[in-house]
């Protein structure tokens, strides 16, 4: 692979990864030489450092690399994070929260089947606010199940989700059963 392309591909990989990536893993993914990758990482790091209009930096430790923001922008990032937490929960977010609370534990596909729209952003927001949590799905190694957090239930004065008003009837509503079965059939068909 030409140098130019390694550099761009390297940046793409570091961008999507949330954790430090080892030089070895980067080299393997790019089907490139590990020393080559190390040289490109040095070049990338210098490019970021020398460009005052660039807001990113490369953090390297123990032959692992990770992208991060430049420290001088920390105050702006804090303000963005804070404002996204303080924002009022939208109607869709409250609905997803209610679904997770009443139908816990539930998968993302099930939530989306019930609401008829994609929910990935909403789930992410609820996770960040510690209102819901996700765990590995015992029934599907690659998937997750979502549950309300204990702290959230506690803030409503409840010990568990079963104490939600009309939990027994609402969580087993026939419309839910219908739409969830329907989607299973569609997925299998």
């Amino acid at each position: 692979m030409p140098s130019l392309h390694i550099a761009a591909a390297l940046e793409s990989l570091l961008f999507v990864s949330g954790e430090p990536l080892s030089f070895g893993r980067l080299a393997k993914t790019l089907r490139a030489d590990e020393d080559d990758v190390a040289a490109h990482l040095r070049a990338l790091s210098e490019k970021y450092a020398h460009d005052a209009q660039c807001g990113l930096q490369l953090v390297v430790k123990d032959r692992k690399a990770m992208l991060a923001t430049k420290p001088e922008n920390a105050a702006f990032i804090e303000s963005l994070t804070k404002s996204s937490l303080q924002e009022h929960l939208s109607k869709p977010a409250l609905e997803v929260l209610a679904i997770v609370a009443y139908r816990t534990p539930i998968t993302r596909a099930e939530i989306e089947a019930i609401r008829g729209v994609n929910c990935s952003f909403t789930l992410r927001n609820l996770l960040l606010r510690d209102l819901i949590e996700r765990q590995g799905n015992p029934a599907d190694a690659r998937g997750y199940i979502y549950l309300p957090t204990f702290r959230f239930l506690q803030s409503l004065g409840l010990k568990n989700a079963g104490e939600l008003p009309d939990h027994a009837t609402l969580s087993r509503d026939a419309r839910l059963t219908m739409i969830l079965n329907e989607e299973t059939i569609e997925a299998e068909g």
Partner: protein, 235 residues
């Protein structure tokens, strides 16, 4: 050999009509619409599995095609502005639909290239902070949940019901033949007495037209809007 295309392959009447025109390598004009009108009706007649819901939209287009064909065959007849408009309209709609059918093909090819631009999961690595919505109560949560239940679409159970209620042109022709086997003459109102909706009445009418064309029956109508009497042609 009969050339059969299953209607399920077609997403609606415009898709079918456009495919017929393209098969004949014609441009979209009134003349080509008149040319493929019979083929369109033929497919409709042979198809046994259109749901009632779909059939209505297929028949609306069929009615316009019959109009266009009649105009081509009987140029001396005068047409109302409304009729003229509906004939031109079909041509224009078909052109518009064609552009999007082509655009859909282009998009499909773009998807197949898998040139996906990936984003980063939001606030990766940010510490989770407990931030409950202020003032939210368990009763509010109950309300949001019942709102969700109320929004669950009921159409998801409809297709099955629609499938059960299929009445095809073919079936109508058969039942008309049976009725005529028992009696020499029946009226159009006899034929449609048990019709469950307007669509079935339209199918009955198309069935009658088809059988006239095939010289199985002949029809008489005393005056405009009076009942039509249907008689079996003795072979």
């Amino acid at each position: 050999m009969a050339y059969h295309i299953r209607l399920e392959q077609f997403e609606g009447p415009l898709d079918l009509l456009l495919s017929l025109i393209e098969k004949e390598e014609l441009d979209i004009t009134q003349v080509s619409l008149a040319k493929v009108a019979d083929q369109y009706l033929e497919y409709l007649r042979n198809e046994t599995s259109i749901s009632l819901e779909h059939l209505a939209s297929f028949l609306t287009i069929a009615a316009r095609l019959i109009l266009i064909k009649s105009r081509a065959l009987l140029p001396i007849l005068e047409w109302s502005d409304e009729e003229e408009e509906s004939m031109d309209d079909l041509e224009l709609r078909l052109r518009e639909y064609k552009r999007f059918r082509e655009a859909a093909g282009t998009l499909g090819a773009l998807f197949a290239q898998k040139r996906v631009s990936h984003n980063r999961e939001s606030f990766l690595g940010t510490q989770v902070v407990f931030y409950p919505p202020s003032g939210l109560t368990a009763a509010d949560l109950r309300k949001h949940f019942t709102d969700v239940l109320g929004e669950i679409p009921v159409f998801d159970v409809l297709p099955e019901q629609a499938m059960r209620a299929i009445v095809t042109l073919e079936e109508k022709i058969l039942s008309l033949q049976q009725m005529l086997a028992e009696r020499i003459e029946i009226s159009f109102s006899d034929l449609t007495r048990t019709a469950i909706d307007r669509v079935e009445v339209i199918i009955s009418f198309l069935a009658v037209l088809e059988m006239v064309k095939q010289r199985i029956i002949f029809v008489e109508q005393g005056k405009f809007f009076s009942d039509i009497s249907i008689k079996r042609l003795v072979p």
